[in-house]
């Protein structure tokens, strides 16, 4: 059986700021009509090229809503979004060719095989047959799915489905990848593998925006945005955030900032 281990790489990940801004939001607000819930409340984000940015927060803090607005799937109530220099959602179809999304749910066709799913999404990005085949072989190999390429999604484990979902998001070699809770509920070995993989993608110039409600996991990101009740309550590198709050873990930062109040009450 092939190992998914990262080979014990350090979590340290030097990152230089001042690069090209690829995502920017200004006073972003989303109020859902049903229940008049203010899911995102005045969010200002700036994410630069090649960084791994982790939006973290408890369930219901507005992470997924933010991702959905950044990808153009959900329209904001107010505020502005620019992705790759284009206004979203107005220019979302243009930008869509350069972004990849792995939603929180697997978002795959259960009756199709691994290969059929990836090919389907590849064709939506107008990739030619040769490029699809080359990229498919590459991704299936990296994500250790080669032996399962003809297996239908229904017959895969949760971790494998997650890997297929990531492959679908990356098939067209996007400039930005959005992974919504991509590493939640999976085997720790697989999680470590994912983080190594994300890091290698970032080093190659891909910007990774991911969400997680597992606080400690986010320490592996270049920068963290800590969300609570739709607001960004803390932002910076993991070390900066911990130093600023005089604690030793991101989870402690979260507890401190929450002041003992449960977020979704």
């Amino acid at each position: 059986m092939k190992s998914l281990s990262s080979g014990g790489k350090s979590l340290a990940h030097p990152f230089k700021y001042g690069k090209e801004t690829v995502i920017e939001t200004s006073n972003l607000v989303k109020v859902y009509k049903e229940g008049a819930i203010r899911a995102v409340d005045g969010l200002n984000l700036r994410i630069v090229k090649g960084e791994i940015y982790a939006l973290i927060g408890a369930n219901g803090s507005g992470k997924t809503t933010t991702i959905n607005m950044l990808t153009g799937s959900l329209f904001p109530t107010s505020g502005q979004i620019h992705v790759l220099g284009r206004r979203i959602p107005n220019k979302r179809r243009i930008v869509s060719n350069r972004i990849g999304v792995a939603p929180q749910e697997y978002a795959l066709y259960n009756d199709l095989t691994v290969e059929q799913n990836i090919r389907f999404f590849a064709k939506l990005y107008s990739m030619d047959r040769g490029s699809i085949q080359k990229r498919l072989d590459e991704l299936l190999s990296i994500l250790r799915l080669n032996e399962r390429r003809k297996t239908t999604i229904t017959n895969l484990s949760g971790g494998m489905k997650r890997r297929v979902s990531i492959a679908c998001a990356l098939i067209h070699q996007p400039d930005i990848a959005f992974f919504d809770e991509a590493t939640v509920g999976i085997d720790p070995v697989l999680r470590a593998f994912f983080w190594d993989y994300f890091r290698s993608l970032a080093e190659a110039g891909l910007t990774v925006v991911l969400t997680s409600h597992v606080m400690d996991e986010a320490e592996r990101a270049n920068r963290i945005g800590l969300m609570r009740a739709g607001k960004l309550v803390e932002e910076g590198t993991p070390e900066e955030i911990k130093q600023r709050n005089s604690v030793s873990s991101i989870e402690q930062v979260f507890i401190k900032l929450s002041e003992g109040v449960v977020a979704d009450e």
Binding site: N68, S73, T77, R93, N97, A107, Y109, L124, F178
Partner: protein
């Protein structure tokens, strides 16, 4: 710790309470539980309430009458006029006058349900027969036999007019059947309607469930963020469903024609084209309706809402001519009514495109309308 019983009525009641509470929270299901039976019963109540009325027929009364010899006491008999006047006072038929040939042409092209010819020597023959001569007076009826209820109503109207005039016996009724002279069996006349019904049900259910399954699978959040536009997605779905629709049409026609030996007097190509067009109409209707269903259950619940009123109003159970006037107006907006006319026209009457232009245009127009509604209502992003 309390003892666990093998059977507990309280546990049963708990499950019952839970199921009822869940249903009571689903407002759409509650609305359908009230709306569907109320609508269906009202529709069936209205359409089933009357008998066939005002069936258009043409009468060619050629009877010249007969002068009964008797010197100064001679009298003129006009039995043809008596039959005609009896028919004119019968509300089951709406009598037009004209030549038998034009009447036959009218039956052939769907303007009349029957045409009746009373021969020139009708009164004379009847008189002479009554004097003991071995003669038969006959009335010829050229009738559309593609709808058993209408056929029976017309024959009953003619029989009662003859009976009013002559009592029992005396006149031979010569029946000629239109559309190739075929006297259709119950199976023959029901198959076109069954094709319409099965096509509606199958295409609607499969299409609507396939569409809603997509929205509930979570894939939409990925698709919304892809270059695929809502219009492209709608077209892609429609093509796939059309291929399925053609397949389903083929199966239905194969079973109807090969296994049950249904009659197709007209062109098979026209029948197939009509069936595929009607399948397309239902596909776009499904695409439109799928926008209002949040899950597969709600999608499936929509099908009887379309199917049952369609069955009632399409004329497949009760002839449309027996409906009250305002209900007959509504039937014009029911796709299955036009589909049934189209299928029966090709299969039983042998109609070509010329006779079926209006049906093709109406079904085609409705298809375009549902396609437009589908485009207008299709979602291209997550709900707000």
């Amino acid at each position: 710790m309390s003892k666990t019983r093998v059977f507990s009525l309280s546990r049963v009641v708990t499950v019952t309470w839970r199921v009822l509470t869940q249903i009571s929270r689903d407002r759409r299901t509650i609305a359908q539980m009230i709306f569907i039976p109320a609508t269906i019963m009202l529709i069936f109540g209205f359409v089933a309430g009357g008998a066939a009325r005002n069936l258009a027929i043409l009468v060619d009364n050629q009877d010249t009458g007969y002068v009964v010899p008797g010197g100064q006491n001679s009298s003129i008999l006009h039995f043809g006029d008596s039959i005609l006047s009896s028919l004119q006072s019968d509300d089951r038929v709406s009598v037009n006058l004209g030549s038998f040939d034009s009447g036959k042409a009218g039956v052939d092209n769907g303007n009349y349900y029957a045409t009746i010819m009373i021969p020139a020597n009708f009164s004379e023959t009847l008189f002479l027969r009554n004097t003991g001569q071995s003669l038969n007076a006959s009335v010829t009826i050229y009738i559309d036999g593609t709808n058993p209820t209408i056929e029976a109503t017309l024959l009953a109207a003619l029989q009662s007019s003859l009976q009013n005039t002559f009592g029992s016996g005396g006149v031979v009724l010569s029946e000629q059947y239109a559309f190739g002279g075929v006297q259709f069996s119950g199976l023959d006349v029901s198959i076109p309607a069954v094709i319409g019904l099965v096509l509606t049900q199958l295409v609607l259910i499969i299409s609507i469930v396939t569409l809603v399954k997509e929205t509930t699978s979570g894939v939409m959040s990925r698709l919304y963020a892809s270059p695929l536009s809502a219009f492209e997605r709608l077209l892609g779905f429609s093509f796939a469903l059309l291929i399925l629709g053609i397949g389903m049409t083929g199966i239905i026609l194969f079973i109807g024609l090969v296994i049950f030996g249904a009659i197709v007097q007209g062109s098979f190509v026209i029948l197939l084209s009509g069936a595929v067009l009607y399948a397309l109409l239902n596909i776009f209707l499904a695409v439109f309706l799928s926008n209002f269903a949040k899950n597969e259950l709600q999608a499936v619940q929509m099908v009887p809402l379309i199917l049952l009123p369609s069955m009632a109003l399409s004329g497949m159970l009760i002839p449309v001519s027996s409906f009250p006037g305002w209900v007959q107006t509504i039937t014009q907006f029911v796709p299955m009514y036009h589909a049934n006319r189209l299928f029966a026209g090709v299969m039983l009457k042998g109609y070509g495109i010329g006779n079926l232009t209006s049906e093709f245009l109406i079904i085609g127009g409705m298809t375009v309308l549902f396609f437009a509604l589908a485009i207008i209502t299709v979602k291209d992003r997550m709900p707000d």
